[in-house]
Symmetry: C2
Subunit: 109 residues, 2 copies
């Protein structure tokens, strides 16, 4: 397992990583918003409104946990975002090659 | 305070009360659904989606509590529904005059 002490982060890498986090979050949020607007417009029964509420509760919890900004887990977060298509390979080019390789390997798991 | 022992309910009154509860719930739910659909369609930022989620959490909690079917509190529930316009005066005509008076008096408080 990677520990923060094993991975050195430059100031530029850290700043760029947080910026990419923000971008991925906004992408996920935009996709969620479109999906919720679409679902909501089709609802005809209040039970389905409560189902949508349950879905949003779960999604919010998931997103709150996913974008963990602790440096020790950034590699894992990017691997997950890459896997989900919320971050693209070429957007990771600001990272040193070793970190990029680790992220890509983890994303394939 | 009214206690269930102080108020006698006929079988017809009880059945009709539950049916009117259901009607009021459906009215409130329909209004809520229309409002949520309207609000959702206007959202452009995910923060506003989370605000809508908070609003729905509160509303769901409120509605879960409001339609309390215990016979001992039906008078109070109807007073609240009357106050909110979810039940109309003439829909209470299945109740004996004493209950109707109590409900109307409470609704004016």
């Amino acid at each position: 397992m990677l520990k923060s002490a094993e991975v050195l982060w430059s100031e530029v890498e850290t700043q760029s990583a947080y910026a990419l986090f923000q971008k991925a979050y906004e992408r996920e949020a935009a996709g969620l918003l479109t999906m919720v607007q679409d679902k909501t417009s089709q609802i005809t029964k209040v039970d389905d409104l409560w189902k949508l509420h349950d879905f949003l509760s779960a999604k919010r919890h998931e997103m709150d946990g996913k974008y963990d900004q602790r440096q020790s887990v950034i590699i894992f977060v990017f691997a997950q975002l890459l896997k989900e298509g919320l971050v693209k390979n070429d957007e990771l080019s600001f990272l040193d090659p070793d970190k990029q390789s680790k992220i890509k390997a983890l994303a394939r798991l």
